[in-house]
C-alpha cells in the first residue's frame, strides 16, 4: 500500500509507543483523565523516552497538535465492529480534550504568556481537570465577531453578565474559558478572554435537546458573576472597535478547526473501513458490492479525500506548532475543517448504502450515529460556508462576501 503521508521514523515510534501505552488504557474505555493515566503508564513502561515529545512542558500535548493528530489518527484502537465511532469517541472524549487544549491555547496567548499559564493550569490538567470554551452567543450564530456578554471592570474584580449557547461539555468541565467585552466606567475596553471555575456563583446552565451523540450541549447564563482580576488571561483587543474578536481568539478558533479536522478524520477512517468490510459481503442481489466498479471508485475517492484532508490537517498542525504566518495557518486550518467534514460525510453515506437499513440500526454498527455526527460537523463549531468565506478572503484575496 502506497503511503501519502510521509512520517519520520521518530514520529512512527512515538505513535507506536504511545499507542502501546494506551493499549493498556484503551482510549475507548477511558472516561477522562487521559494525561495522568498516560503519565502513570509511561512511568511503568520503557517507552517513557518518547513521552517527552508530548508531555514535557516544552512539548505539552495540547500545544503539539501534530503529535495529538498522529495519536488520534494512528493511535492504538482498531475499529471495534458493532460499535459506533460516535459512541467510542464519546468515551474517549476528544471533544472535551480538544476544549481543554483550546483553553490552554487561549490562556497561553494571553498577556501572562505561556509560562504563567503552565505553572497555574498544567497541574490542573495533569489531574484530569477539563475545560469548556464559551464563545457562541444566542442569535449570533457563526458571527463570532459580535460579542455581547459583558465583564464590567469595577476596580477590584469583574462582574460578568450575559449568555452563551451551544457550549459543549459544560456539564463536565472544571474550568470555563469565556470570551467577553470589557467595560470600565461605561467605556468600551475591547474583548478579552477570561478563565473561571465552572462552579463559580452566578453561573447556571440548561441542556439543549441536540439530536447527536457525544458531549451534551448547553446554554450558559452569567448573572452578576464576580470574577477576580487575574481571570482575564487572553490579550485584550479591539478597544472601541465595537467588540471585534482579538487575535488570540482567532488563534484559538484555528486550533479548534485543526482538532475538528483530525478527530473527524478518525471517524471518516472508521466509516471507510466498515464500508470496505461490508463491500466484501454479497448483497441481496447476489453481487459482491466491492466488485461493482462504481463502488470501487467511490471507495477510492473517499480514501483519496481522506488522505488529502489528512495532508492538509498535518500541514495545519505544523503551521500551528511552529507559529507560521497566520494566513498559511488559517488557510490550512480552514481547509482541514472543510475537507475532513466533507470526506467524513461521504464515507458515512457510502457505508450506509452498503449496510442498508442495518446501518441505521443502533444495535448494529450504527453508521447512522456517525453520519449524524459528521453531518453536525458541517455546521459546528463553525459552518462550512464561513470556512469558504475565510478562504475566499484570505487565501485568494477576494472581496468579502458578507458585511
Amino acid at each position: 500500500m502506497i503511503e501519502f503521508e510521509t512520517r519520520t521514523q521518530r514520529e512512527k515510534e512515538m505513535v507506536e509507543a504511545v499507542a502501546g501505552l494506551i493499549a493498556g488504557i484503551d482510549l475507548r474505555k477511558m472516561d477522562g483523565d487521559l494525561q495522568s493515566s498516560l503519565m502513570q503508564s509511561a512511568m511503568k513502561s520503557g517507552a517513557a523516552q518518547y513521552m517527552d515529545m508530548i508531555m514535557s512542558p516544552g512539548g505539552l500535548l495540547p500545544f503539539k497538535t501534530e503529535a495529538l493528530r498522529q495519536l488520534i489518527m494512528y493511535g492504538g484502537n482498531e475499529p471495534v465492529p458493532g460499535r459506533s465511532m460516535a459512541k467510542t469517541t464519546a468515551k474517549a472524549q476528544p471533544v472535551k480534550y480538544a476544549l481543554t487544549a483550546m483553553g490552554m491555547a487561549a490562556i497561553s496567548s494571553g498577556e501572562g504568556g505561556r509560562d504563567a499559564a503552565m505553572s497555574r493550569y498544567l497541574p490542573e490538567i495533569m489531574k484530569g481537570r477539563l475545560f469548556c470554551y464559551c464563545i457562541t452567543e444566542p442569535g449570533a450564530g457563526t458571527n463570532t465577531n459580535k460579542v455581547s456578554t459583558i465583564a464590567v471592570d469595577n476596580g477590584d474584580h469583574f462582574v460578568m453578565n450575559g449568555q452563551k449557547t451551544y457550549i459543549s461539555a459544560a456539564d463536565t468541565s472544571h474550568y470555563m474559558v469565556v470570551v467577553a467585552r470589557i467595560v470600565k466606567d461605561g467605556e468600551e475596553q475591547g474583548v478579552g478572554t477570561f478563565i473561571m471555575e465552572t462552579a463559580t456563583a452566578g453561573i447556571s446552565m440548561t441542556e439543549l435537546d441536540i439530536a447527536v451523540l457525544g458531549d451534551k450541549q448547553f446554554t450558559i447564563y452569567y448573572d452578576d458573576v464576580k470574577i477576580p482580576k487575574d481571570a482575564l488571561v487572553g490579550s485584550k483587543s479591539g478597544t472601541k472597535s465595537g467588540g471585534k474578536i482579538s487575535a488570540s481568539v482567532f488563534y484559538t478558533l484555528n486550533l479548534e478547526r485543526i482538532i475538528v479536522g483530525f478527530t473527524t478524520l478518525r471517524l471518516c477512517q472508521e466509516a471507510l473501513s466498515r464500508a470496505m468490510e461490508r463491500a466484501a459481503i454479497p448483497a441481496s442481489d447476489g453481487r459482491v458490492p466491492g466488485s461493482d466498479p462504481d463502488i470501487k471508485r467511490r471507495i477510492a475517492k473517499v480514501k483519496l479525500k481522506l488522505e488529502q484532508a489528512s495532508l492538509a490537517t498535518k500541514r495545519a498542525c505544523v503551521a500551528y506548532d511552529n507559529s507560521e504566518n497566520p494566513v498559511v495557518m488559517g488557510t490550512f486550518a480552514n481547509m482541514a475543517k472543510y475537507l475532513s467534514t466533507m470526506a467524513a460525510n461521504e464515507a458515512c453515506q457510502l457505508a450506509l448504502e452498503l449496510y442498508g437499513v442495518e446501518g441505521l440500526d443502533k444495535d448494529k454498527d450504527d453508521v447512522g450515529g456517525d453520519y449524524l455526527m459528521a453531518r453536525l460537523l458541517r455546521v459546528a463549531p463553525i459552518n462550512n460556508e464561513m470556512v469558504l468565506n475565510f478562504l475566499g478572503e484570505h487565501m485568494l484575496g477576494l472581496p468579502k462576501s458578507y458585511r
Binding site: N143, A211, S284, V357, G368
Partner: protein
C-alpha cells in the same frame, strides 16, 4: 412559496382536510408522543375518522376509493403537513393488496377492519439493503390445509401494534428470483410469532426513544413454525412474485408523494428562516451559498412533482407490474433525492439549531436516508431503469 396547482377539486378537498389535521397535530404533539415512546393514537383515530385509512379500500367495504392521483395528492399533503409515516404507507399497501388481489371473502374479512383503523405492517425486508425486491428466504411449507412459516423478516414498522402482518414468503423451490413466492397474512398474535424491537432512530444520546416523531418504530418479526390456513394466502400460492412488484410500486408512489411533501415542508421552513434570520446585517437567505442550494432543492422538488404526477397517471393506464415499477421507482428516486437536498440545505441554513429536535428539520433526515434505501435503493433503481427501459445490458 411557489406552488403550481393542477389538482382536481377532490384533491383540493383532500389537501384542505389534511392541512386542517396538521394544525391540530403539530410537531410538538408528535415530539411529545415520541418522548413518551407511545404511538400517536389520537392522531391515528382522526385519520381513521376522516376515512383516510380507507383510501385504497373499495367503496362497498366502506373505503374512499382514491384514484392514484388522489392518493398522490393525499400523501403529498400528509408529507407537507408533517403527518406522513411508514406505518400509514404500510397499512395502505396491505389494504391495496387485499383489495386488488384478495378474494371477496378475504376482502370482507380484513378491509372493514383497516377502514376502521386497524394497523397492518408489510414485513417484506430481509437483508434490507434495497437491492432485491425478491430477496425472500422466509419459507412456507405446506402441511395439509395449512402453511408452516419459518424465518425472520426485519425492520417491519409498528409490528408490535399491528393487527396483521403481510408477509411475502418462499413457498416454492429455490431461494432467489420471483418464482415460488406467496403473500401471506399472518395475525400478529399467531403462535410462533415473536416481535423484537430494533433501534432505528435519529436520537443517539444515551436517553433515547424507540418511537420516531412520525409514530414509526421498527421490529424484527421472527417466525418459528407459524401455522396459517391456506386461505390466508393472497393472490394464490406461488403467485406472489408479481404482487410483490406491484406492491413495491404502489409503496414507492406513496413514498414519492410523501417525500415531495417533506421537501415542500422543509423548504418552507428554510425559506422562512432565510427571510427572518439576520446574519451580518442581511437575511441569511440573501447569501448565494444558502439561496442557490435552496433553489436547486426546490427545483428538484418541482421536477419530482412532475415525474410523480406522471407515475400516478400510469397506475390508471396499465397494470403491467414492470412498467409500474419503472414509473414509481423513478418517482421515488427523484422525490427522495429532492427531499435529501431540501433537508441538507434546510439543516445547513439553520446551523446548530438545525439539530435541535424542537426545530424539527433534523427529524426528517434519517427518514429520507432510510427511504433512499427501501424498498429499492437509488443505485438499484437507476441500474434497473437503464437495463429495462433503456436497453443497457444486464450484469
Amino acid at each position: 412559496m411557489f406552488d403550481e396547482t393542477t389538482q382536481t377539486e377532490d384533491q383540493q378537498m383532500i389537501a384542505a382536510a389534511v392541512a386542517q389535521i396538521g394544525k391540530e397535530f403539530d410537531h410538538a404533539y408528535f415530539l411529545e408522543q415520541a418522548r413518551k415512546e407511545v404511538f400517536p393514537d389520537r392522531f391515528w383515530n382522526v385519520l381513521t375518522e376522516n376515512g383516510f385509512l380507507g383510501a385504497l379500500a373499495p367503496e362497498p367495504h366502506g373505503g374512499s376509493g382514491f384514484s392514484s392521483g388522489d392518493l398522490a395528492a393525499f400523501m403529498g399533503s400528509m408529507g407537507k403537513a408533517g403527518l406522513a409515516s411508514n406505518v400509514l404507507i404500510d397499512t395502505l399497501v396491505c389494504c391495496d393488496a387485499v383489495a386488488s388481489f384478495g378474494t371477496p371473502e378475504q376482502q370482507q374479512q380484513w378491509i372493514p377492519d383497516i377502514v376502521a383503523g386497524a394497523r397492518w405492517t408489510y414485513a417484506s425486508l430481509e437483508r434490507a439493503d434495497g437491492r432485491n425486491l425478491h430477496d425472500i428466504t422466509v419459507s412456507a411449507v405446506a402441511d395439509g390445509d395449512s402453511l408452516v412459516i419459518s424465518g425472520t423478516k426485519r425492520y417491519a414498522v409498528c409490528a408490535d401494534s399491528a393487527a396483521n402482518i403481510l408477509i411475502p414468503v418462499r413457498s416454492g423451490a429455490g431461494t432467489t428470483g420471483s418464482d415460488g413466492i406467496s403473500l401471506v397474512v399472518v395475525p400478529a398474535e399467531a403462535a410462533g410469532v415473536t416481535i423484537e424491537p430494533r433501534q432505528v432512530n435519529v436520537r443517539v444520546q444515551d436517553e433515547e426513544e424507540r418511537v420516531r416523531v412520525t409514530g414509526d418504530s421498527f421490529f424484527d418479526v421472527v417466525l418459528s413454525d407459524v401455522k396459517v390456513a391456506r386461505d390466508a394466502v393472497i393472490g394464490g400460492i406461488d403467485q406472489g412474485g408479481e404482487l410483490v412488484t406491484r406492491l413495491a410500486a404502489r409503496q414507492m408512489l406513496m413514498m414519492a408523494s410523501a417525500a415531495i411533501g417533506w421537501g415542500d415542508r422543509i423548504l418552507a421552513m428554510a425559506v422562512d428562516y432565510g427571510n427572518s434570520r439576520i446574519i451580518y446585517e442581511e437575511p441569511i437567505g440573501s447569501y448565494q451559498a444558502v439561496q442557490h442550494p435552496m433553489v436547486l432543492a426546490a427545483t428538484d422538488v418541482e421536477m419530482a412533482k412532475l415525474v410523480t404526477g406522471r407515475a400516478a397517471v400510469a397506475f390508471d393506464e396499465t397494470s403491467d407490474a414492470g412498467e409500474l415499477l419503472s414509473y414509481a421507482s423513478v418517482a421515488k428516486y427523484q422525490a427522495t433525492e429532492a427531499a435529501v437536498a431540501a433537508c441538507d440545505i434546510g439543516v445547513q441554513c439553520h446551523g446548530g439549531s438545525g439539530f435541535d429536535r424542537d426545530t424539527g428539520i433534523i427529524t426528517y433526515w434519517p427518514l429520507v436516508l432510510l427511504w433512499r434505501i427501501i424498498p429499492l435503493c437509488s443505485d438499484k433503481i437507476l441500474e434497473r431503469f437503464s437495463e429495462v427501459e433503456l436497453g443497457m445490458p444486464a450484469n
